[in-house]
C-alpha cells in the first residue's frame, strides 16, 4: 500500500494539464495549437504511467475494494468522498488512461480548429471518466457520470461533421433522459438505505422486491442507453458519424463501457434479485441486438456507421455474458469489453487515417487500397479479424466465453448469439472487401500515401494488445478472476433455482 492518494491523483492529474493550458497557452489558433497539443500529450502520457503504477500496486488476489480513499463530505446524509478500485474497475481506469495519449495523437491531424479547447475538453473528459470508475459513493459517482456528458456533447457539437448539431442533441437527450431516471433511482436508494456508500449498500441489499424492480428499471434506463442496448442504440451511429476521430475513440473505447460497468455495479451488485428477475428480458434484448444490428451493419454505406453498429452488436455480447449470471459468462463479458475497447478504438482510428486523407466516410469512394496502402491494409486486417472474433485475437476469447456462459444458462441463448458469428464476419469482410480489394476506381483514393510514422506509433501498441489478449489472456484473467468470483457468488446467492454452469452439467442424466 501507499500513502499517496493514487486514485485521486490519476483522476485529477489531467486537470493539471488543463490549468497549464489555461495559464500558458493564449493567442490565435496557429500559435496555440502546438503547445496545447504538447501539454495534453505529455499530461496524458504521465497519467497513463500513473495508471500503470496503480495497476502495479493493485493486489489481484483481493476481491474487495483497494486503495480506498474516504473523506466525510456531508455528514448529515452520510455522503462521503469515497474512492476505491476492485478487479473490475481497475481495468476501466487503465483503459481510460491508456487510450488518452492515443486520442491526443490522433487529433494531431484531425482537429484543426479550436485545438486548445479540444484538448481541454479531452482532458476534462478523462478526469470525469476515471472519476466515475473509481467512485464508491452514489453522489460522487453521479456527478462524474453526468460530468462526462458535457465534454462529449461539446466534442460532437463543436468539432463534429455536417450533422453535428442533430447528433449532439440526440446524444444528449438520450443519455440525459437516462440520467434523470438514474438520479431518481439513486435518491430512492440512498433514502431507503440511509447511506450513499456503495460498499455498504452492496453488502446489505435489503430492499423490498417490489421497490427493487422499480429501481432496477430506473437504473437500466440509464445504463442501457449508455451501453447501448437495443432499442436504445439509435443515438450511437449518429454520434459516431459526427464525432471527430478522437471523440469516436473515447466514445467507443470508454464511454460505452460506463454502461457495462453500471450494469455490473448497480444492477447485478446492488440489485441482484431484481437482476435475476429481469435477466431473461436482458438476454432477449442482447440476442436481438446481436442479430439486428449485425444485419443493419450489413446494409451500411457509411464507414463510421458500420463500425458503430458493430459496436452495438459487440456490446450485445457483453450484456449476454453478464446476465447469463455465471462465472464463465461474466468473465467473457469483461473480456469482450476490454477487447472491444482496443478493437473498436483501433477501427475508428483506422477510419480516421483515410478520413484525414480523403475527407469522406462513404465506403464506395475507397476501394483497392491494398494497392497503395499495403501496411494500412495489414493493420486494418488485424482489427477486422479481431472484430470478427478469430481465435488468436482478443475478440475471440471474450465472445467465446460469453457465448459459452449463455449456452450454459440455456442452449438457446448460445445458439442465437452464435448467429452473430456468421453475420459479424459478413459485414466486416464486406467492408474490408469494398475498402481494400477490387478494381481501382478512384484516382484520388489510389493516390493516398501509406501510414505515417505518427500513425505507426498509434497502431503498433494496439496490434500488440490484440494479439496478446488473444494468445495469452491468462495474466489478464488472473487480475480480475478473484473479484469476479466473489461478484458471481454474491449474485448467485440471490438466484435460487436457476442453472449455473456446474449445475447445468449436473443436470445431465
Amino acid at each position: 500500500m501507499t500513502d499517496i492518494p493514487i486514485l485521486s491523483l490519476v483522476t485529477y492529474f489531467p486537470l493539471l494539464g488543463v490549468a497549464l493550458i489555461f495559464l500558458f497557452v493564449n493567442g490565435v489558433e496557429e500559435k496555440t495549437a502546438g503547445p496545447a497539443r504538447l501539454i495534453a500529450l505529455v499530461t496524458c502520457i504521465i497519467n497513463a504511467i500513473i495508471s500503470l503504477y496503480l495497476f502495479q500496486v493493485f493486489d489481484p488476489a483481493n476481491p474487495g475494494f483497494q486503495l480506498v480513499e474516504k473523506h466525510v463530505w456531508m455528514e448529515k446524509w452520510g455522503i462521503a468522498y469515497h474512492k476505491g478500485v476492485d478487479g473490475i474497475s481497475v481495468w476501466f481506469v487503465l483503459i481510460s488512461a491508456l487510450l488518452a495519449p492515443i486520442c491526443v495523437l490522433s487529433a494531431y491531424s484531425g482537429i484543426t480548429k479550436r485545438t486548445k479547447e479540444f484538448m481541454i475538453a479531452l482532458l476534462v473528459l478523462q478526469t470525469m471518466m476515471i472519476g466515475m470508475f473509481t467512485a464508491l459513493d452514489l453522489v460522487l459517482l453521479y456527478l462524474f457520470f453526468e460530468g462526462v456528458l458535457i465534454p462529449m456533447f461539446l466534442m460532437i457539437g463543436i468539432w463534429g461533421g455536417q450533422g453535428r448539431i442533430y447528433a449532439a442533441f440526440k446524444f444528449f437527450l438520450y443519455t440525459f433522459a437516462g440520467s434523470v431516471l438514474l438520479l431518481l433511482g439513486l435518491m430512492v436508494l440512498a433514502i431507503h438505505g440511509g447511506t450513499t456508500d456503495m460498499t455498504v449498500l452492496m453488502k446489505n441489499p435489503d430492499i423490498p422486491f417490489d421497490l427493487a424492480r422499480w429501481l432496477w428499471l430506473a437504473f437500466f434506463a440509464a445504463f442501457a442507453v449508455k451501453t447501448p442496448m437495443w432499442p436504445f442504440h439509435t443515438w450511437l451511429p449518429f454520434a459516431h458519424v459526427e464525432a471527430p476521430t478522437a471523440g469516436s475513440v473515447i466514445l467507443a473505447g470508454v464511454l460505452l463501457k460506463m454502461g457495462g460497468y453500471g450494469l455490473m455495479r448497480f444492477q447485478m451488485q446492488l440489485l441482484p434479485e431484481a437482476s435475476h428477475y429481469f435477466s431473461e428480458f436482458v438476454l432477449v434484448l442482447s440476442v436481438i441486438a446481436i442479430i439486428y444490428t449485425s444485419l443493419v451493419a450489413l446494409a451500411q454505406t457509411d464507414l463510421k456507421k458500420l463500425i458503430a453498429y458493430s459496436s452495438v452488436a459487440h456490446m450485445g455480447y457483453v450484456t449476454l455474458g453478464l446476465f447469463a449470471g455465471n462465472q464463465v459468462g461474466v468473465e467473457g463479458a469483461m473480456f469482450v469489453m476490454l477487447s472491444h475497447t482496443v478493437v473498436s478504438s483501433a477501427l475508428f482510428l483506422c477510419v480516421g487515417v483515410v478520413y484525414d486523407r480523403l475527407h469522406t466516410r462513404d465506403i464506395a469512394r475507397y476501394g483497392a487500397l491494398a494497392n497503395n496502402m499495403p501496411r494500412y491494409a495489414i493493420v486494418f486486417m488485424v482489427f477486422t479479424l479481431a472484430s470478427v472474433g478469430l481465435p488468436g485475437t482478443s475478440g475471440f476469447v471474450g465472445e467465446f466465453l460469453s457465448m459459452m456462459g449463455a449456452f450454459l444458462r440455456g442452449s438457446v441463448w448460445g445458439a442465437l448469439a452464435g448467429l452473430g458469428v456468421i453475420l459479424g464476419a459478413a459485414y466486416m469482410l464486406l467492408l474490408y472487401r469494398r475498402m481494400f480489394y477490387g478494381e481501382s476506381r478512384h484516382a484520388d483514393a489510389q493516390a493516398m500515401p501509406d501510414l505515417s510514422l505518427r500513425e505507426y506509433i498509434i497502431f503498433i501498441p494496439l496490434v500488440v494488445l490484440v494479439l496478446w489478449l488473444g494468445l495469452a489472456p491468462g495474466p489478464v484473467r488472473e487480475m480480475m478472476a478473484p473479484t469476479l468470483k466473489s461478484f458471481v457468488e454474491n449474485y448467485q446467492t440471490y438466484v435460487s433455482t436457476e442453472a449455473t454452469g456446474a449445475e447445468a452439467r449436473g443436470g445431465v442424466e
Binding site: 486537470l15 473523506h71 462521503a80 468522498y81 479550436r114 476534462v124 456527478l143 460530468g147 458535457i150 465534454p151 456533447f153 457539437g157 463543436i158 448539431i165 442533430y166 442533441f169 440526440k170 437527450l173 438520450y174 432499442p231 439509435t234 451511429p237 439486428y292 444485419l295 443493419v296 450489413l298 446494409a299 462465472q327 468473465e331 494497392n371 479479424l385 478469430l390 481465435p391 488468436g392 467465446f400 466465453l401 457465448m403 459459452m404 449456452f407 440455456g410 442452449s411 445458439a415 452464435g418 456468421i422 453475420l423 464476419a425 459478413a426 469482410l429 480489394y437 477490387g438 481501382s440 494468445l471 495469452a472 491468462g474 484473467r477 454452469g501 452439467r505 443436470g507 445431465v508 442424466e509
Partner: protein
C-alpha cells in the same frame, strides 16, 4: 519437456511466414522463396523423424507449451499432441506443402507479389499443423479458423479480381456457418464433460452414451447432439453436401493453392476431426448414420456435377468433394482408419492432378476451359504422363492381390467396409460408392481426353506457344507421382491391414463388434472386384464418348434434358441459397435500418424531441457561433468548482 523436432515440425513454417510476410519487399522474391522452402524442408524432416518416433517406436506424447484460455472450471493449453493420427497428418501436410512450395517458385515466378504468396502458404501450413496437433477442441478450432483465414487470403490472392473477392468471401462465410455448429458443439462438450480436453472427453464418452440433455427446449440424446453439432463444422470445412458451395468457387485462387488447401489438406480437416473424435462418435450411432448418409450423398452429387463441367479446375474440385464423401462414409461405418488411409492417398494423387492441371494452364497461357484445349499431349508429354498417373490412382486401377495404384487400395477398403457394415445405410453407401467409382473414372478420362487428345481447339497463337513447364514445376510432381503409385501398396498393411492395431495404438477407437475393417476383409470376392469393374467401364465409356464418338455427349445431354440441366447447374444450390439466405439478409438489414431504427425507434424516441429542440434553438440564437461553446465551458467550470468546493468543505 521441450523436444526440438516437435517444435520445428510445427513452428518453422510460422517463423518463415512471419519473416517473409512482415519483411515483404525488403526480403525480396528470391530470399522469400528460399526461406519459406527451407522452413518447409526443416518441418518435413522433423515430421519424418516424428513419424518414426511415434508411429513406429510408439512414443506417443503431449507437450504443453503455454496456457491459453482459462476460465472457471476450464483450462485450455497450447499443446502439441503426437499420436499416430497426428504424425500421419504431419507427413501429409508437410509433405504436400513442401512440394507445393517448390512448385510455386516456378508457377508464380511472373507474379509481382511473390513474398506475400509464399508467406501465406507457410502461414496456412502452420495453422494446419496447429490443427492436427491439438490436444483440445479449442486449439483445433484455432487451427480450423486459421486455415480458413489463410484460405480466404489465398483464394483472394489476386485481389483486383471481383470474382476472387466473391469467392473468398463465400468460402469464409459458408465455413462460418459450419463453425457456428462447431462452436455449439464445443459448448455442449463443456456442458457434458466439464472439459474440452480430448483426454477428458474420451474418458467420459462411454458413461454418457445414454445421457440426455435439454437443447433448444428439446430433450435430446446428449452425445448424438454434440457429435452432430461438431459434424456441422466438419461439413463446412470439408465441403459436404449443403455446405459445399464454396469449394468450386475457391478455384479462383492460384492453382498451387487449390492443390494444397482445396484438395490435399484443409478440406480434409473435417475427416481428421471426426477420426480424432472417434472415441466420442463411436458412442453416438445415430450421428455416425448421419455422417454415412451425408458422405454418400455428397459423393454422388459431386460426381454427377463433375461429369458435366468444362473448367478443368472445377472438374477436379468436384472430384475432391466426391472423394471427401467417400472418406466420410468410411468414418460413418466406423472404418476411421480407412477414411484416413484414403485421405493420405488422395492427398498425393489429387495434389498431383491439380499441379498437373496447373502445368496445363501454364502451358496454355491461362486457359482453363477444356472446350478450348485438346491435342497437346505431344507438346507437354511429362505433364501428360503425370496426369495419367494421377487419374489412374484416382480411379483406383489395379489388379486385386497383386498391385494397384494408391486409390485402388484405399477406395476398395472403404467400399468393402461399407458393404460389410450390414446396415441399410452402409449398403446404400456401398452402392452409391460403386456408381461413383464408375463416374470418377468417366470424368477423369473425359478430362484427360478433352485436355490432351483430339483436335486442338485453342487459337493458333496459343497452340504454337504451348510449352512444357520448367523443372521447378515438374520436379515436385515426381514425389507426388511416386506417392500416387506406391502409397496404397506400402501403406495398406499399416493403415488397414495386419498391423493396424499396433500402428494406430490408442489414436483411433472402435467399439468391439463394430469393427468394419475386420469385416471388410471377409467380404465376397465380387465385392472386391466390383469397384475395379466399375472403374474400367468408366474409362471405356469415356473413351467411347470423347475419343471415338465425340458427337455423342451432346446428344446424351440433350436426351437427358432436365437431368443434365440439373447436373450442369450444380443442382441450383447457389441460386437457392441466394434466394433463401443472402437476399433476405440484405433486405432485413435495410428494413431494420430504415424502418426499425428510423421510423419506429427514432420516431417514438428522440427525433421528435430533438427536432423540436433544434428548431427552437435555431430561432433563439446562432448555434454555431461561440454562444453554445461559451455556455458549455461555464458548465464544465461550474462542475469543477462545485467539486472543489465540496471537497474542501468536506
Amino acid at each position: 519437456m521441450l523436444s526440438v523436432p516437435d517444435i520445428l515440425a510445427v513452428f518453422s513454417p510460422l517463423l518463415m511466414a512471419a519473416v517473409v510476410g512482415l519483411g515483404n519487399r525488403h526480403v525480396g522474391d528470391k530470399a522469400a522463396q528460399v526461406l519459406t522452402c527451407a522452413g518447409m524442408v526443416v518441418a518435413l524432416l522433423a515430421s519424418v523423424f516424428l513419424f518414426y518416433d511415434v508411429a513406429v517406436l510408439g512414443h506417443v506424447r503431449t507437450m504443453v507449451l503455454a496456457p491459453w484460455v482459462i476460465t472457471e472450471g476450464m483450462q485450455v493449453n497450447w499443446a502439441l499432441r503426437f499420436d499416430t493420427l497426428t504424425v500421419v497428418m504431419l507427413l501429409v501436410v508437410n509433405g504436400v506443402s513442401t512440394m507445393v512450395h517448390f512448385y510455386s517458385c516456378g508457377y508464380m515466378s511472373h507474379d509481382k507479389s511473390i513474398p506475400r504468396f509464399m508467406a501465406y502458404l507457410s502461414l496456412f501450413t502452420f495453422f494446419m499443423l496447429m490443427l492436427v496437433t491439438a490436444d483440445n477442441l479449442l486449439q483445433l478450432f484455432f487451427g480450423w479458423e486459421g486455415v480458413g483465414l489463410a484460405s480466404y487470403l489465398l483464394i483472394n490472392f489476386w485481389y483486383h479480381k471481383e470474382s476472387a473477392n466473391d469467392a473468398s468471401m463465400k468460402a469464409f462465410l459458408v465455413n462460418r456457418v459450419g463453425d457456428f455448429g462447431f462452436l455449439l458443439g464445443i459448448f455442449a462438450c463443456f456442458q457434458l464433460f466439464g472439459s474440452i480436453q480430448f483426454a477428458d472427453i474420451f474418458a467420459g464418452a462411454a458413461q454418457l452414451a445414454d445421457a440426455r440433455f435439454d437443447f433448444l427446449g428439446m430433450e435430446l440424446p446428449a452425445l448424438t447432439t454434440t457429435c452432430l453439432l461438431l459434424f456441422i463444422g466438419a461439413m463446412g470445412k470439408s465441403a459436404q453436401l449443403g455446405l459445399h458451395t464454396w469449394l468450386p468457387d475457391a478455384m479462383e485462387g492460384p492453382t498451387p493453392v487449390s492443390a494444397l488447401i482445396h484438395a490435399a489438406t484443409m478440406v480434409t480437416a473435417g475427416v481428421f476431426m471426426v477420426a480424432r473424435l472417434s472415441p466420442m462418435f463411436e458412442f453416438a450411432p445415430f450421428a455416425l448414420q448421419v455422417v454415412t448418409i451425408v458422405g454418400a450423398l455428397t459423393a454422388i452429387v459431386a460426381a454427377t456435377i463433375g461429369m458435366t463441367q468444362f473448367d478443368i479446375k472445377r472438374v477436379i474440385a468436384y472430384s475432391t468433394m466426391s472423394q471427401l464423401g467417400y472418406m466420410f462414409f468410411a468414418l460413418g461405418v466406423s472404418a476411421y482408419s480407412a477414411g484416413i488411409f484414403h485421405l493420405m492417398t488422395h492427398a498425393f494423387f489429387k495434389a498431383l492432378l491439380f499441379l498437373g492441371a496447373g502445368s496445363v494452364i501454364h502451358a496454355l497461357d491461362g486457359q482453363q476451359d477444356m472446350r478450348y484445349m485438346g491435342g497437346i499431349w505431344r507438346k507437354i508429354p511429362a505433364t501428360y504422363v503425370m496426369m495419367w498417373v494421377g487419374s489412374l490412382a484416382l480411379a483406383g486401377v489395379g489388379i486385386p492381390g497383386l498391385f494397384g495404384m494408391a486409390g485402388f487400395y484405399s477406395k476398395d477398403i472403404i467400399l468393402e467396409a461399407a458393404f460389410a457394415h450390414h446396415t441399410w445405410f452402409g449398403t446404400m453407401a456401398f452402392w452409391l460408392g460403386i456408381v461413383c467409382a464408375y463416374l470418377t473414372a468417366l470424368y477423369s478420362w473425359r478430362l484427360l481426353i478433352m485436355t490432351f487428345h483430339g483436335t486442338p481447339r485453342m487459337d493458333h497463337h496459343t497452340l504454337e506457344h504451348a510449352h512444357e513447364s520448367p523443372w521447378s514445376m515438374l520436379g515436385p510432381l515426381l514425389p507426388l507421382a511416386a506417392g500416387a503409385l506406391l502409397a496404397g501398396y506400402v501403406g495398406y498393411e499399416f493403415f488397414v491391414g495386419h498391423w493396424r492395431a499396433e500402428f494406430w495404438g490408442e489414436a483411433i477407437k472402435v467399439i468391439d463388434g463394430q469393427d468394419a475393417i475386420e469385416n471388410a476383409h471377409h467380404v465376397p470376392t465380387w465385392v472386391k472386384w466390383l469397384p475395379l469393374v466399375a472403374a474400367l467401364s468408366g474409362i471405356a465409356t469415356a473413351y467411347l464418348f470423347y475419343e471415338r464418338k465425340p458427337e455423342w455427349p451432346a446428344k446424351v445431354a440433350k436426351g437427358a434434358g432436365v437431368v443434365y440441366t440439373l447436373f450442369f447447374n450444380k443442382y441450383y444450390f447457389d441460386q437457392i441459397y441466394a434466394a433463401v439466405f443472402v437476399r433476405p439478409a440484405q433486405f432485413l438489414g435495410r428494413f431494420f435500418w430504415h424502418t426499425g431504427d428510423g421510423k419506429l425507434i427514432d420516431a417514438f424516441g428522440p427525433d421528435g424531441v430533438a427536432g423540436a429542440v433544434v428548431r427552437v434553438a435555431k430561432k433563439i440564437g446562432p448555434l454555431q457561433t461561440g454562444y453554445v461553446y461559451h455556455y458549455a465551458f461555464v458548465m464544465v467550470l461550474g462542475v469543477a468548482l462545485l467539486l472543489t468546493w465540496f471537497s474542501v468543505r468536506g
